[in-house]
Amino acid sequence: MEIDPFIFRLSIFVLAIFVGYYVVWSVTPSLHTPLMSVTNAISSVIIVGAIIAGMSGDIKGILNTSNIFGFLAIFLAAINIFGGFLVTQRMLQMYKKKKKNK
């Protein structure tokens, strides 16, 4: 009588959708670009899958196609992770309230 874990995942999926939905409702337009940028960076969490793919198999088979695709995915995702977060950081630097003269 155990519940299928898929159901749990589904519940989690649905709830996360709601969170995503509500969490950005009140964003100010001037932050649209940084928000997109950070969302983009976050979406490269796909790297988790890529790492699993890349590290799979044993030492001998490490260079089979599936691994290579994994490596490439890691490469791409890594660009994105670093690039995404850092560029967001740069953008947000602009939003720092300028010091007022006096």
Binding site: R9, I12, F13, V14, I17, V19, G20, Y21, V23, V24, V27, T28, P29, S30, L31, H32, T33, M36, S37, V38, T39, N40, A41, I42, S43, V45, I46, I47, V48, G49, I51, I52, A53, G54, M55, G57, N64, S66, F69, F71, A73, I74, F75, L76, A78, I79, N80, F82, G83, G84, L86, V87, Q89, M91, L92, K96, K97, K98, K100, N101
Partner: protein, 464 residues
Amino acid sequence: MSVNLLAIFYLISGVLFILALRGLSSPETSRRGNLFGMLGMAIAITVTFLAIGNFSIGFVYVLIFFLVGGSIGAIIAYKIPMTAMPELVAGFHSLVGLAAVFVAISAFLNPQVFNLGSPGDIKLSSLIEMSIGASIGAITFSGSIIAFLKLRGIMSGAPITFKGQHYINLFLGLSIIVLIFYLCNTQSESFFWRLISISFLLGLLLIIPIGGADMPVVISMLNSYSGWAAAGIGFTLENTALIITGALVGSSGAILSYIMCKGMNRSFFNVILGGFGSVNSLTVNNKDKKPVKNGNAEDAAYLMKNASSVIIVPGYGMAVAQAQHALKEMADSLKKNGVKVSYAVHPVAGRMPGHMNVLLAEANVPYDEVFEQENINNDFASTDVAFVIGANDVTNPVAKTDPKSPIYGMPILDVEKSKSVLFVKRSLSPGYAGVDNELFYRDNTLMLFADAKKMTEEIVKNLN
């Protein structure tokens, strides 16, 4: 590391991502939000490594690719000029899409690694999930490439539409479904590759017809797609982090594009379906097709709130709109925010001598904030924002440069010397003298197209 612990860590990184998005919704918390995002990502990556725990030669490769990719990313992030932000985001996007495709391919080729069965005998549910993931990933990839090219200017920003495009897209969409169906039935690799290729194509065709002005919406939408792709793959890999994050990114991206559409007064569906109503209404008035930057009240409020000084330049349009009271209120709000506000009144602003003075006095603007041209013209250079409200001729630099212009020789207010210039008017049409104002097309100009009173009221709202 136990699967349970792993799952808890994934949950934690999911929560950190939520906090990241939340943080990004207001300027005060935005930097902290970004840090949360980084932390979440670091946790997700670290625990994944730890969970696999296979620090063999594979790990080395992984690490190399990771570090090389990371360095490239970091370099791009630091080198890119700020003006190229939108296309950069689009470019990054394509990478995520491609990465998703690669992971899906990898899972398809080597399902046993992910406990999905063996090649040719992949669990049905997993197969569906991974093909959806791969397809969306591919669409994201090729779509983002187009968006990137359009924004970069390599491809024309104009919407490229052709007859029957919606039918072709529909057909491609249906093909994808059919292919997934066959793929599930046959588990044949060839269907999988075809699926991916068609998805690539669909991505291209979906984005090509959309005009450059709508690109931000497209990027956000592609963002959303990449989220759904990640979630799809998350289901395949039974990975909570991917599911949570994917759903989060997917839905927030969709909402964000919706919000942006509303902000631009565009129909969400038209934008997403591409090319439907994509004629950019603003470029129509602009005979020479010179681009203008077109902002809204929020942008204006943001710019002025963070300025240390603002000079207001009222003109006939302020009088027509009877915006003087709202303007006074705006100035009051700014002053409360510590911004220095002055008014620059040109001798012939309006339609009668002293026109602006009458109205400013009516709105109780203190006389010592109102300056005549001679006394304030030099201040523009050291001013952050010139807020030009319904004035036009009196700011037109052609008066200094073109002896043939009917306004040649009139001393003008040097608004263009200030860091940013905001122009509140209803259109690009000229003023009394009938001369086009080249300031509208300057880089440091933001046009606020609206009735002066309405726009000012909006700005006041956003200042508070």
